[in-house]
């Protein structure tokens, strides 16, 4: 995985996600950080990304809108989007998966959760 875009309005959350990604063996990837969905969308449009990780509850553009934009774009539709949120429940998770999210994780996250969620992508690359 070469480029991972992380959209979260919290610098602490972005740092935690980067730290977890490094721990699970993705330290060599380039991490591009965005403070909201609009910035995140700009980053994935500017340069190809292998993964977009997004919070749900963000100012300017929230994670659900970001996911909708990505899945509506022919160029970005195949980009895996992992949602990491503090406001998740089963109903919301089902809705996001239906919208095309690759996965949905609830905060607080840890490396094991992230590793399990990303295993299909990482294993696919290895193979």
């Amino acid at each position: 995985m070469k480029r991972i875009v992380i959209a979260d309005d919290s610098g602490t959350a972005r740092m935690m996600i980067c730290r977890c990604l490094e721990i699970i063996g993705l330290a060599d990837a380039e991490f591009a950080e965005a403070e909201n969905g609009k910035e995140g969308l700009k980053l994935v449009k500017q340069e190809p990304a292998d993964l977009l990780i997004s919070d749900l509850n963000m100012p300017v553009m929230d994670g659900e809108s970001l996911l909708r934009w990505v899945k509506a774009s022919p160029k970005l539709v195949d980009l895996p989007v992992l949602i990491i949120t503090s406001a998740g429940n089963q109903a919301k998770t089902d809705k996001l998966l239906e919208m095309g999210a690759f996965g949905v994780l609830n905060k607080p996250i840890n490396p094991a959760m992230l590793s399990e969620a990303l295993a299909p992508l990482i294993n696919n690359e290895d193979g």
């Binding site: 602490t12 935690m16 406001a87 089963q90 109903a91 905060k107 607080p108």
Partner: protein, 159 residues
């Protein structure tokens, strides 16, 4: 403690433990308001609104010293490198995670809920019935649940 207070206290303690252990490898102990006050620590507070399914407010107050200790560990930075903005962001993210977990554990799985963006508290801490005090690393922190109407809190208990 009445049934509602006990319920909220148990749930708050469980999610605060989980949040701080996951985020910062910090464990907490329950304490009384008097024990927390006696530590005489400058505190930093943050508020967050739960706008659905009931209008509630959750406030988190954490000793500044504890926040700096957590930030030093999490960011692997020296204290003089830590900005006020980073400390405020850390406090907000702890509350954001805590509030989400709190709603997840008290509501049925199919229930939706919405959280506002956390905002720094500019008023004094209160001493309401639903304020729960803790100690971590010998430093105080507290979580307070507020509702405009008692019915809002009672309806959560009935879920």
């Amino acid at each position: 403690m009445n049934e509602l207070t006990t319920f909220l206290h148990q749930k708050t303690t469980a999610v605060l433990e989980e949040t701080l252990e996951n985020m910062a490898f910090v464990s907490i102990e329950e304490c009384t308001l008097e024990e927390a006050t006696n530590l005489k620590q400058p505190m930093l507070g943050v508020n967050l609104l739960i706008t659905e399914p009931e209008l509630l407010e959750i406030r988190l107050d954490v000793s500044k010293e504890l926040l700096y200790q957590i930030a030093e560990t999490m960011y692997t930075m020296d204290r003089d490198e830590l900005s006020d903005q980073l400390i405020n962001d850390l406090l907000a993210e702890i509350l954001n995670t805590l509030a989400g977990r709190f709603m997840t554990v008290i509501l049925p799985p199919e229930s939706d809920f919405s959280l506002s963006i956390p905002e720094l508290a500019d008023d004094e801490e209160s001493t309401s019935e639903f304020k729960f005090n803790y100690i971590a690393e010998d430093l105080p922190l507290s979580v307070e649940i507020k509702a405009a109407e008692m019915d809002n809190l009672n309806s959560l208990l009935n879920n």
